[in-house]
């Protein structure tokens, strides 16, 4: 990389890391007099929770990846942010309120509560850990890339840095309250992309506002079956959001189903707001950093633009702001995912329970994807994230949607759907990442964007096997359905 190292950027990264740890450690509500006791013990309002969910959700793929993809493959890639946002609409209309009312903290909790089966619970745990790990790899790789660009440090340094910060913050008991950390990260990320964008657009205008052209298509492996890939992406992101482990656990913070719904709308608005920015960077990258299209590190475009277009101290400072925001993106998503995966590991995988085991699980939760990110070759960040969505869409989406709306779902049906839908998607992702099947050709397209076929497979398997095992409908199904769908005001009032 030809860029000089930026001390300002390094300082910004260090500041973000420090602030994250501090907010995590002290972001508790503390009261010392009884008068503010009530304030301290008040549940989280939808808007605050929405900012926290958004902060956790906007990952490196959103912060760097989308602009990079637009730069290389053209504006069709904007289906990614549209899908990430629309996923919340699907989550809202089918899942949000019932999931909150189920009282489940994690997806395995939901599976056990709804289907009354330890077996399904264990299987769901495996998928949560699997999807979480697939999602963590690109976060760590993105961090490696960012650090390489900023300092010229070897690629693995950033991976290790983010992993260590997460472990230190979570495992040392620093993240005692993650809500405020994530709220802080959301606004940091928005600022870090918005402020430089304003300056960049001004610079572009003073440059005579040259026209951006997307005409020369370079997308070697997408040119193959672009329409199929687009649909694969749409299905995966629209239906995959609801099952992402770090998203699900945040809904627990809502005090009731109604607030969970309102929270989701606010999330949709907040991330929609954020996603107005990456297309700007993508278009400007086309003009000012066209060489990145060919040398493979397109994810770096967002980081490089301020230096290219503005230069001098101003460019350095804006670059530092973006670098800080990028690190916030890695940290927030990585820590959220790590906590979610670690939660499942402590509950369902590790033998004994306790807070100490949670710390051990945290180390385990991030060590595996760290190893993965160091061993596996680099896949573009947004692509890798798309794969995690595909796995989630083919396994958790059928489980949640049918579990919430269909009384005849049975444990064998759920297992069949998870194994056939989620299993095949997971396998496709593994084959794609391993590089065993290469573009061009249908085999690669089908494996790289599995959601189009794996989601129907998951749904069908779940439905057909459930219909074939009518005797296995859990006895508590009706009770569970009432709990999922009745407003809390009625359920607590009825016993009085």
């Amino acid at each position: 990389m030809s860029t000089p190292d930026h001390p300002a950027s390094m300082a910004a990264v260090a500041l973000v890391v420090l602030a994250t740890v501090l907010v995590g450690g002290f972001g508790l509500r503390i009261s010392r007099t009884t008068s503010d006791f009530y304030v301290a013990s008040r549940t989280v309002r939808p808007r605050l929770n929405a900012a926290a969910i958004s902060g956790e959700y906007l990952s490196a793929a959103s912060f760097l990846g989308i602009a990079g993809l637009v730069l290389v493959h053209g504006p069709d890639m904007l289906w990614y942010p549209v899908g990430y946002t629309a996923g919340y609409l699907v989550l809202l209309v089918f899942v949000a309120a019932p999931l909150r009312r189920s009282g489940a903290y994690t997806l395995p909790d939901f599976a056990e509560g709804r289907l009354e089966s330890r077996q399904v619970r264990r299987l769901v745990s495996v998928f949560v850990v699997g999807a979480g790990w697939v999602y963590l790899v690109p976060q760590l790789q993105g961090a490696g890339l960012t650090l390489t660009i900023l300092t010229g440090a070897p690629g693995w340094a950033g991976d290790v840095l983010v992993a260590s910060v997460v472990v230190l913050a979570v495992a040392a008991g620093g993240m005692r309250s993650i809500t405020f950390v994530q709220v802080f990260q959301y606004w940091l990320k928005l600022t870090a992309l918005l402020v430089p964008a304003i300056f960049l657009v001004l610079a572009w205008q003073s440059d005579g506002a040259p026209r951006v052209s997307f005409d020369d298509q370079v997308s070697a492996f997408r040119a193959d079956h672009p329409l199929y890939a687009t649909y694969g992406l749409i299905v995966a992101t629209f239906l995959g959001t609801m099952g992402l482990p770090h998203v699900v656990v945040r809904f627990y913070t809502s005090p009731n189903g109604r607030d969970a719904r309102r929270t989701t709308v606010a999330v949709l608005a907040l991330i929609g707001l954020f996603y107005l920015l990456p297309p700007v960077y993508g278009a400007l990258g086309r003009l000012y950093a066209p060489e990145l299209i060919h040398d493979g590190d397109a994810d770096a475009a967002v980081l490089l633009l301020p230096a290219r277009m503005i230069g001098g101290l101003g460019g350095d400072l804006l670059g530092a702001l973006i670098a800080g925001g990028a690190f916030a993106a890695f940290l927030s998503t990585a820590s959220g995912l790590t906590m979610a995966v670690a939660g499942v590991l402590t509950q369902d995988v590790l033998p004994s329970r306790g807070v100490r085991h949670f710390r051990l699980a945290t180390v385990l939760a991030i060590a595996v994807p760290l190893g993965g990110s160091l061993l596996v070759g680099r896949v573009p960040v947004a692509d890798a994230v798309g794969m995690a969505f595909a796995v989630s869409a083919s396994s958790f989406c059928p489980l949640l949607v049918l579990g919430i709306w269909w009384r005849r779902l049975t444990p064998p049906g759920a297992i069949a759907g998870l194994l056939l839908g989620g299993g095949s998607a997971l396998l496709s992702v593994a084959i794609t990442v391993s590089g065993a099947v290469r573009p061009p050709g249908w085999p690669h397209a089908l494996l790289a964007w599995p959601a189009v076929w794996s989601v129907p497979v998951g749904f069908l398997a779940m439905i057909l096997v459930s219909l074939a095992t009518p005797g296995r409908v859990p006895p508590g199904t009706n009770a569970a359905m009432s709990r999922f769908h009745l407003p809390e005001a009625l359920t607590s009032g009825r016993a009085r």
Partner: protein
């Protein structure tokens, strides 16, 4: 937390009672539901909520299903950039807002229905 007293403290826990709690969901929850509100009421609420959800989802699926074909036909990257980059978010937020209002109204109507029913 206080610091001065830690050295002299000893950890005390109760002895294991060997109570193995059995899953307690089945009977009680079932009875609660059957007597207090009744499956028919719950199902009617579910239907109205599902209708609202499916409406929103159908609109979304229709738009998302046809847009790529439209883009393919238009062959204009500038339009794709403008539509996907900016124009999609307001309708998404509006749809979400519509759904929430609809779902909350369904719940209010349902509450009125349940509270107004004759005593069992």
């Amino acid at each position: 937390m206080s610091h001065e007293s830690t050295p002299r403290r000893e950890v005390v826990t109760g002895e294991p009672r060997r109570v193995r709690p059995l899953p307690r969901y089945r009977p009680q929850a079932e009875i609660d539901e059957q007597t207090a509100l009744g499956g028919a009421y719950v199902r009617s609420l579910m239907r109205s909520q599902l209708r609202a959800g499916l409406t929103a989802f159908a609109v979304l699926a229709l738009v998302a299903g046809t847009l790529p074909l439209v883009f393919e036909a238009l062959h204009s990257n500038a339009v794709v950039w403008a539509v996907l980059g900016f124009a999609t978010y307001p309708p998404l937020a509006l749809a979400a807002w519509w759904y929430v209002r609809r779902a909350e109204r369904n719940e209010r109507d349902f509450a009125r229905l349940v509270e107004g029913r004759p005593a069992p």
